[in-house]
């Protein structure tokens, strides 16, 4: 007996399991600053031409006609998981080194090996040398160095960093530049909220915040994860039900196989 339906249903079960894995990763990162949710995508597998065999030998003529063939599919496979760069909520944090980008663009960060990577997580800290770094200790690019006698920092919407020193003088330390990509979903996620450019994302386009389609920088705010719990729960219910319905296929085919085995008493 053909086990195609069983294999098809198994591919469906496997696809839905992967779907739940992606959804559970989204839900686990519901409070991760600057997190962008993933979505699993599926596509159907190759089709096969199957002959609908007339059982009687006298139907040999009908057997050879092309119209006696039908196409039967072989199931489903996952095609990709994709990052969705939708804006997350911007939440006040009260910390003067926290920045959120409202709109397009990513912060540039220099890794210890010198390569530039990108992030939406604007929870910056000051390291022992007075430089602005990410929570992971990577330097913000272009570098911003603070001196000992800084009293307060103000970051304007276009990214220029001004400080008020202890003696009452103000000075500008530099400007935070943003990077933008033509195809942000082509970026590869490195973990730790970092992304690296690929050939399919295109080269980074650098620019000032608030100009030419770049988003604005908001000091004292953080961009929360763009995972919407309700949306994920709905996706999870859908995935679970789709899993269930594929298991029903398995059960149905199993029943039919049992019957086939019992044809001869």
């Amino acid at each position: 007996m053909s086990t195609r339906a069983l294999r098809t249903a198994a591919s469906g079960l496997y696809a839905q399991q992967l779907n739940v894995e992606v959804i559970s990763n989204n839900i686990a990162n519901v409070n991760t600053t600057g997190f962008k949710k993933n979505k699993a995508e599926f596509q159907d597998l190759m089709y096969q031409e199957v002959q609908v065999n007339p059982t009687q030998a006298s139907d040999a003529a009908a057997q050879s006609t092309p119209s006696a063939k039908i196409q039967v599919g072989n199931g489903v496979q996952s095609s990709s998981t994709q990052k969705i760069f939708k804006q997350g909520d911007v939440v006040a944090s009260g910390n003067q080194l926290d920045m959120a980008i409202q709109g397009d663009g990513l912060f540039q960060v220099r890794k210890s090996d010198g390569t530039i990577v990108y992030t939406r997580d604007g929870s910056f800290k000051v390291n022992s040398e007075g430089k602005l770094v990410t929570s992971g200790g990577y330097l913000l690019e272009p570098e911003i160095s603070l001196t000992d006698n800084v009293q307060s920092i103000s970051i304007s919407r276009d990214g220029s960093v001004d400080v008020l020193e202890n003696d009452g003088r103000t000075s500008t330390l530099g400007t935070i530049e943003l990077a933008k990509f033509m195809n942000p979903s082509g970026l590869v996620a490195l973990g730790n909220n970092l992304y690296a450019e690929t050939e399919s994302s295109g080269v980074p386009i650098l620019g000032t915040a608030g100009s030419k389609g770049f988003g604005e920088i908001n000091q004292g705010f953080l961009e929360s994860s763009n995972v919407d719990i309700v949306e994920e729960m709905v996706a999870m219910i859908t995935a679970q039900r789709a899993y269930e319905i594929n298991s029903k296929t398995v059960k149905t085919v199993e029943e039919m196989m049992t019957m086939a085995n019992n044809l001869k008493t």
Partner: protein, 237 residues
């Protein structure tokens, strides 16, 4: 003897198994973008009393769902995107596209998407100041203010001739398709067309097929028993 009856029943059992294969495939693809469900085949007699089978695809519109990705494109209404593959062209409703490493607009399998002027390439335009991609309702692709091309949208001449390949794509024999008229479709950017499989209808179909199979199975067992009885007529004990 009633051998003829047993053949008919065997045929019925056989075809029900193939129907289940089709239904299983529909259900497995309940989340596949742009998937069009298959209706289990039917047998019919043509005018010369020959047995033919017919298989149909339900080309109904799937739900169009927001994905917020600028390169996710759905067609609302009639029409198909054209893809260039190694074996010619393929048609699809799956508008899940991205930009390939060398700047072409491609689908998930790396097949290039065709525009009215051939393959769509972004090339150097990816390095402009304003690289946002906008796609109009008629399918014109713009990067910033620069026009790139228009998506080719075509219609099937004979939908029943379309052959399925993977990734919700169809191959049409002899490239028998025509450009779709713009008033019959609308391109929506940032949306994807979901599978048009309805789980309830598929379950109903599956239960029906299962029960039909069971009936055929029972009839076959009765026939078997009857033949057993008839073979005992006149037996000397």
């Amino acid at each position: 003897m009633m051998v003829n009856g047993i053949y008919h029943i065997a045929r019925s059992l056989n075809s029900k198994i193939k129907s289940i294969d089709v239904l299983a495939n529909n259900l497995a693809n309940i989340n596949s973008t742009g998937f069009k469900k298959q209706i289990p085949f039917q047998e019919y007699l043509n005018k010369n009393d020959e047995i033919n089978v017919k298989q149909t695809t339900d080309y109904g519109q799937g739900e169009v769902i927001l994905s917020a990705n600028p390169l996710d494109i759905a067609i609302s209404g009639d029409g198909y995107f054209l893809l260039k593959t190694d074996n010619g062209t393929e048609l699809t409703r799956n508008g899940k596209f991205h930009i390939s490493d060398n700047g072409f607009l491609v689908n998930g399998n790396g097949n290039k998407v065709l525009g009215n002027n051939g393959v769509i390439s972004f090339g150097d335009l990816m390095e402009t100041d304003n690289p946002s991609i906008t796609i109009s309702k008629t399918g014109e692709i713009k990067i910033g203010d620069t026009n790139v091309d228009s998506l080719a949208v075509v219609n099937l001449e004979n939908p029943q001739d379309a052959i399925r390949t993977s990734n919700s794509n169809f191959v049409v024999p002899n490239d028998n398709y025509t450009p779709a008229s713009p008033q019959n479709f609308e391109i929506v950017q940032g949306y994807l067309e979901e599978s048009n499989v309805n789980p309830i209808l598929e379950m109903q179909n599956m239960i029906e097929t299962n029960k039909d199979y069971e009936s055929a199975y029972k009839i076959m067992r009765y026939l078997d028993q009857t033949m057993e009885k008839s073979s005992q007529i006149g037996k000397v004990y």
